[in-house]
Amino acid sequence: MGRFLLKRAGQALVVAWGAITLVFVVVRVVPGDPATLILGPDASAAQLDSVRADFGLDKPLWQQYLTHMGEVLHGDFGDSWRLGGGAMGATLDRFPATLALAALALLITLAVGYPLGMLCARRPGKILDLLVSTGSLIGQAVPSFWLGIVLILLFARQLNWLPSTTGGGPAAVILPSVTLALPFVGWLARLVRNGALEETGKDYVRTARAKGTGEGAVMYVHVARNIALPVVTVLGLLMGNFIANAVIVEVVFSWPGIGSLMVDAITNRDYAVVEAAIVTITVSYIALNLLVDVLCVALDPRLTPESA
């Protein structure tokens, strides 16, 4: 386990380095001059030059890159010219809001999609099964910004049941997390359904039934144990997905998370914040993958002598 973790941590570092480099290049290649944005269109050439010198933008790219990597190694992603203060600090301040959103979305997906999939597996080809498979296709085809707007119109404007923005208290998290979760509920249900259906054909399920085990325990204990690996894997990927997908949904719902921060930063050429946000998302993605790997090792009975 120790060796395995060390190896995966090494791989994670390489991925993180790649992400930082990519962001560095992309951010500087796209048109738009931060100095002009900071000072406004009326600034003189001398003023622009001095701001560029302050941010190190007058140096050649490779030199900027090396300096930058040196700073990143010390945890310094530069300062946000718009917010003042460290870019990483500003990003991490907003990160918990995104995590909360993503975690609730994951919970909703799991709480609805999992039992739905199990139900479909018990009666494959019947009405519910067909509805879920159609629904999962539709759910994935619907763009999340549109879904978010529809939910706002319906539940916030028409029915006035739920708040659509942060001002509305803790209930404000519901609509954005539902928007995130909805496209993946059917998707997870399909995955659980297919896995469970394959397992229910196996002999051990018949043995469990022959012992007089009830259908609930057959599905949620015997079958669930054997589809745990793929389910945990996709849940991990899904959580990473939700953190990344939050960008659009957060803007639609003015959710004060890392996604809306990043969109603001992009429109304002706030390089440091864009980079800090992307690196944070990347690192959390990597961390989630690592967590999934560890969980999978722990869940595989052939790899761990677990005593029941």
Binding site: K202, D203, Y204, R206, T207, A208, R209, A210, K211, G212, T213, G214, E215, A217, H222, R225, N226, A228, P301, R302, P305, E306, S307, A308
Partner: protein
């Protein structure tokens, strides 16, 4: 013995009928069509006795046994006749009543013990499951009873092996675990579907001895499904031979083995390796019929050396004669042919 405490009713006597099939038909349904696979099977399972159900694969013997525990595969159903457990017709059983009957009244041992165990749970926990779920025992009590049961079926170091997973067990030990699970709640009927087929020959004998011993101790009514007449001869008292979904011959084992009256039984016996024949095998020619296109008349006639015109036209009924029964137009000739061969 603690296991039988589950049944508080009056003690059942050996010889009591614990389970019965009455003219049971089983078919696979697809849309409106039903392909009959089992065509009118009648069997009685008596306490303290082992009835062997023999036949080639596809003869319907596995389906017959699964019908007795209400676990026919998807698509298959009992289309007519009745399955009776401890005097109760299971035709009207709800899913819940079937579930309560399983493990408690009727239990089953399967062919492949690796596949029959859940790979994700410790073997001991799987044996303890009926105690936990059905008897609602506390974790520790259930564990103690499971360990005791593991000892009874000959799993060495039961205490320390409780937490091991199926892949850490050998084939024979796995089958012992499956047997322990089946016996956990003290059923009156035990169904064993090819219980030794997937095992090493050396282990087969041990498992058969274990089964025979437990069978005697617990006064079980056992149905042993097998294609192996050698295995059958070691543990069964009665035998029923199935061909193409019907019972073609039935009777006490010794009697049927020494004086077979159906050409198919005769063929099976002659297909057995036998030292007296100098080791020559006489396989039965041809293949079992496709249940979707059964031959007219007696289903065995295309493969039968005794077949005449009447066999092609008329399916012979199962004619009972004392404790023997046979479905053949030429039963007497078959018996006679064996008897003339015997002194050789």
């Amino acid at each position: 013995m603690t296991v039988s405490a589950v049944h508080p009713a009056q003690p059942p006597a050996p010889g009591d009928v614990a389970a019965e099939l009455r003219d049971v038909h089983i078919g696979f349904r697809s849309g409106r069509d039903v392909t009959p696979v089992v065509r009118g099977v009648g069997l009685r399972l008596r306490r303290g006795r082992v009835l062997a159900l023999v036949g080639e694969s596809g003869s319907g013997k596995s389906l017959t046994s699964l019908a007795l525990i209400g676990l026919l595969p998807p698509g298959a159903e009992v289309t007519s006749g009745s399955v009776v457990l401890d005097g109760a017709d299971t035709g009207g059983f709800s899913a819940r009543r079937w579930r309560e009957a399983r493990g408690d009244r009727v239990a089953m041992i399967f062919q492949d013990p690796m596949a029959a165990l859940n790979p994700g749970f410790a073997v001991g926990r799987q044996i303890a499951e009926p105690f936990r779920r059905r008897l609602r025992l506390r974790r520790r009590e259930a564990r103690e009873r499971a360990v005791a049961l593991m000892r009874e079926v000959g799993i060495a170091d039961a205490e320390s092996r409780y937490g091991d997973h199926p892949h850490e067990f050998s084939g024979g030990m796995r089958q012992r675990a499956v047997i322990a699970m089946a016996l956990a709640l003290g059923p009156s009927v035990l169904l064993a579907d090819e219980p030794t087929t997937a095992l090493d020959v050396t282990v087969q004998a041990q498992i058969l001895r274990l089964l025979a011993r437990r069978q005697q101790e617990a006064d079980l009514a056992t149905l042993l499904v097998s294609h192996d007449l050698g295995v059958v001869a070691r543990v069964a008292q009665d035998v029923a031979v199935m061909y193409a979904g019907r019972i073609v011959e039935r009777g006490p084992l010794d009697d049927v083995y020494t004086r077979p009256s159906h050409p198919y039984t005769l063929g099976l016996l002659e297909a057995m390796p036998d030292a007296r024949d100098g080791g020559r095998l006489k396989p039965i020619k041809g293949v079992p019929p496709d249940p979707r296109r059964p031959p007219g008349g007696c289903a065995f006639h295309p493969r039968c050396p005794f077949a005449t015109d009447v066999c092609r036209d008329e399916d012979p009924p199962l004619a009972e004669d004392g404790d023997r029964a046979v479905a053949c137009h030429h039963a007497d000739e078959v018996t006679a042919s064996r008897e003339t061969e015997e002194p050789r």
